[in-house]
C-alpha cells in the first residue's frame, strides 16, 4: 500500500497510556495526514509495537476530508490503517465526486475508492446524484458523446 505519510494530531488535551499504547485526545481534536484531515471532539489512537494501527473518533459530528473528491461526517468514525478503510456510523454522510451518500453505516476503502453504504432499521441509504452528473456531454473530459470513446 502506498506510504501514507506522517500523521500529526493536535487537541486541547491529550493523554498517552504507555502500556496500552493508546493516545486519547479530546477537545477540538484535529488529525492531518497528507491531504486527509479529520476533526472530532474525542479521538483515540491505537498503536501496536510503536506503529499506529487504528484511530477511533467521535464527535458531533466527526468531520473528514480528502483532497476535493471526498468529504464526510458521521457520529463516529473508525480509521483502520492496516485495512486501509474508513467506517462511518451514526448518521453517516459522504460526498464523493459530487455524489452524496447518507446511511446508517458507510464504508470507504482508501485503495479502491469504493464506497459501501448500508441501512439499519428504518434509517435507509440515501444517495443524491447531482444534475450535472447526468446532463449529457457536460463531463469535462468527455467532449464526444458516444461512450465508446470513454477512457
Amino acid at each position: 500500500a502506498p506510504v501514507e505519510g506522517p500523521i500529526s494530531v493536535s487537541a486541547d488535551r491529550g493523554r498517552f497510556e504507555q502500556d496500552a499504547g493508546t493516545g486519547v485526545y479530546s477537545g477540538n481534536v484535529e488529525l492531518l495526514q497528507g491531504n486527509r484531515s479529520m476533526q472530532a471532539d474525542k479521538m483515540s489512537l491505537f498503536t501496536k509495537n510503536g506503529e499506529l494501527v487504528r484511530v477511533e473518533a467521535t464527535g458531533s459530528p466527526v468531520k473528514l476530508s480528502e483532497g476535493e473528491d471526498l468529504e464526510a461526517h458521521a457520529g463516529n468514525l473508525v480509521y483502520d490503517i492496516k485495512a486501509r478503510t474508513l467506517v462511518l456510523t451514526g448518521d453517516a454522510f459522504i460526498r464523493h465526486k459530487g455524489n452524496t451518500f447518507e446511511g446508517a453505516k458507510v464504508e470507504y476503502s482508501l485503495d479502491s475508492k469504493r464506497v459501501d453504504a448500508s441501512s439499519e432499521g428504518d434509517q435507509r441509504v440515501r444517495l443524491v446524484i447531482p444534475a450535472e452528473n447526468q446532463i449529457p456531454g457536460n463531463d469535462k473530459k468527455d467532449n464526444t458523446d458516444s461512450e465508446s470513446s470513454k477512457p
Partner: protein, 738 residues
Amino acid sequence: ADNDLNWVDREEMATFPPVQQRTVPDWCGGMYYNPSVGLPVEGSDTVVTADHSTLTQDGLISLDGDVLIEQPGRRITTDSARLDQSTGKYELESGMRLESDQATFIADNMSGQTRRREGSLQGVRYALFDISSRGSADYIYINDNTTTITNGSYTTCAPGSNGWSLHGKRIFLDREKGWGEAENVVLKVKSTPVFWLPWITFPIDDRRKTGLLFPTIAIGDDNGLDISQPIYINIHPQMDATLAPRFIDGRGSGVDTEFRYLTPLGSGDLSYGVLFNDRKFDDEDRQVGRWTHNGNVGRWNLSTDFNYVSDDFYFKDLDTGLEISSQTHLPRLAEARYYGRTWDMLGRMQSWQTIDPTLADQDLPYRRLPQLQLSGDPSLIGPLKGLWLSDFTAFERSSSDDSGKATGLRGHAAPALSLRLQNSWSYLEPRGRVYHTQYKLDNVDATDEENPEITTWGASLDSGLIFERPTNWFGTSYTQTLEPRLFFNKVGYEDQSELPNFDTREVTFSYNALFRENRFIGYDRIGDEEKLALGLTSRFLHDASGREQLRLRVAQGFYFEDREVLTDDPLEDPTDDQTPLVGDARWNFASDWYLYTEAQWDLEENERERSNFQIGYNDRERRVFNVGYHDRPADDIQESEISAILPIHRHWRVVGRWMYDLENKRTLETMAGAEYRNCCWKLRLLSQRELTDEDGDGDVEGDSTIWFQIQMIGLGGFGGQVDSLLERSIPGYRREYE
C-alpha cells in the same frame, strides 16, 4: 386489471388538494393522472434511497433492496439497479415501476441511457397520459418524443373496459408529429378480432381530426344509402390528403378527395369530388372542385377561393344543409392585399359561377379581371391629412351572356383633404373630396357614349362629443358614455344616367351607412346628397377590465333636397326628407351570453324596415345555444331560427336546429341528433331536413337525410362531412370543441 396505471376516477380526483385537481372529462369515467410525481424541473438532482448501495471509483453505482429513484416529475421503484455514471447507462434488472407526469410503465426490467433520455422495457404494461391510452407489450422503447411498442396493444378505453383495442407487431407513437403508425395490425372489438390490416396511420392528438377507418353512413330520401369511407394519407408534416370513396345507392359511386398543404406562402386546401354517371342525372358525371388558400408574407396577405361545380344542382343533390343548398353564386377569387403603414393596396381577379338557374342573364354578376385599388391617408401638415382612393377595374361578362350589358375598363379616383381636430372629449373633421370616374367601354350600341366620364365633388363635416359618468349595475362599477354625433354631408349632383352600372347598389341602410360620404357602394354612382345625420351612442364600459358590456346606438338622417342619382330599384324613396330611424344594441350580459339586435323604423309610414335579433350562448365546453329573428318586410322575409348543441348527460349530447319562415308559415330547416360518447367510443346519429328548390323551377321541396357515424377515439376522428354540416348550421359550434 390495469387499475394500477394511475387511472384516477372522479371520486379519487376529489380527494386531491384543489390546486392539483384536474377536470375529468364528463363523458369518461376518469383520466390518467399522477400529481404525486410533480413536474419535471430542468437540472434537478436525482435522490435515491435503498437498503444498500455501492459506488466504485469509475462511477459505477449499484443499489439493492427496495430501491426508490426520484427526480421532480419522475419516480422509479425497483429491487435492484445499476447505474454507470461515466456513460449514463442504467439497468433495472428485477420488476420495476416507472411513474412520470406523462406516463406509467410497469415492466419486468428496464435499461437505458440517462444522457439521451431513452429507455427500453421488457414485459410491459403502460399508460400514456397525454393521449390517454394504455396497453401491454413484450417490449417498449421510449425517448423524449416517441414510443415504440413491439408485439403490443393500444387502446383508449378505460381500464377494465375492452371496447376496442389495437394489437400490432409494431406500434409507433410520435408525440411531436401527433401521429401513430402500426404494422401487422389486428383490431379487436370487445376482444373479438374484427379485422386485420398490414399497415395503418392514425392521429394521436387533436391536431388533425380527420377520419381513418370510420365510414360515414347517410340515408337520404332521394339518394337512398350514401356511404363514404375516408382514408387518411399523411404525406408529409406539411401535407396530408384524404381519399373518400363514396357510394350512393340511388345514383352511383364516386370519390371525394381533399389535399391540404402548408407552405411559407400560406396554407391551403384543394378538394375535388366526382360522382360517375349519376343515374338520376341522365348518367352525367357530377363534379365539384374548390381551392382555398390563405398566406401572410410580410405585410402581404395572399388568398384564393376558387370554386367549380359541374351543374347548378350539385349541392342540392349531393350535399346537405340549407346553408349549402341556398348558395346562388360560387366565388372564383384570387386576391393579394398589402397593408402598409399609410398605403394599402389590393389586386384581385374575381368572378363567380352562378348556380341559380332562375337568375336572368342581366342579373348575372360582372367579372373583375383584374381590380387594382390603392388607398392611403398620408399626413400633410400637422392634423391636415390627404385621403387617397383610386381603383382601376376591367369588367367582363361570360361569353355566353346575351344580356347586352356593356363591358370595359373603369378608372376611379376620389382624393380628399381632411383636417381632423380631436381631444379627449370631442372631435371635428371637415373633409373636401373630388370624385372622378372614367370609362372605356366596348360592345356598346352606337348611340351610347364609349368613354363616358364624370367629375363631382363632396364636402362633409363629422363632429362629436364624448360625455362620461360613473354608474353602478348590480354592484359592478361601469363608466357610461354618451356620444352625440353630427355629420353633415353634401355631394354635388352630376347626371350619371349615361354611366354603366358594373358593381353599384345603395348601401344597406344601417347606423354606419348614415355616416358615409357616398350612399352607394361601388364606384359607378356618386350619390348626390345634402343630408344631416344625427347619432347617439351610449356604452357601458366595465371599469375593472375596460370591456364594453353594452352598447346602444340610435341615429337618423334628414335630407335638405331630393336625390337625383338613382339605380333601377332604389331601396329608399328619393323624395323622402328623412331616413328611417335606426337603432342597434350589443350586450354581452354574462361571460358566455351575448345579445345583438338592430332595428330600423320608418317614422313616416310608421313601419319597420328591417330588423334583426340574435341571442346566444357558447362556452368552450361544447355548450352552444342560439335564437335568432330576421325580418325584412320589403322582401317578404321574416324568419326565426333556434339552434343548440347541449350535453344532457355525461355520455349524451343532443343537437337541434329549427329555422321557420313566419311569412309563409313553413319550416325551412330542421336538424335533430344525438351523440353518445365514452372514453374510447363515439357514436353520432343526426337527421336533417331542409326546403330547397331541387329542380330549379322556383318552388321548394323537402329534402331530408339521416347520418350515422362511429368513431374509436384515439384512432381517428369522424369523416369531415357531419362536422362541417354542424359548423355551417349551428353558429358558435366548432369541431375543436369535440
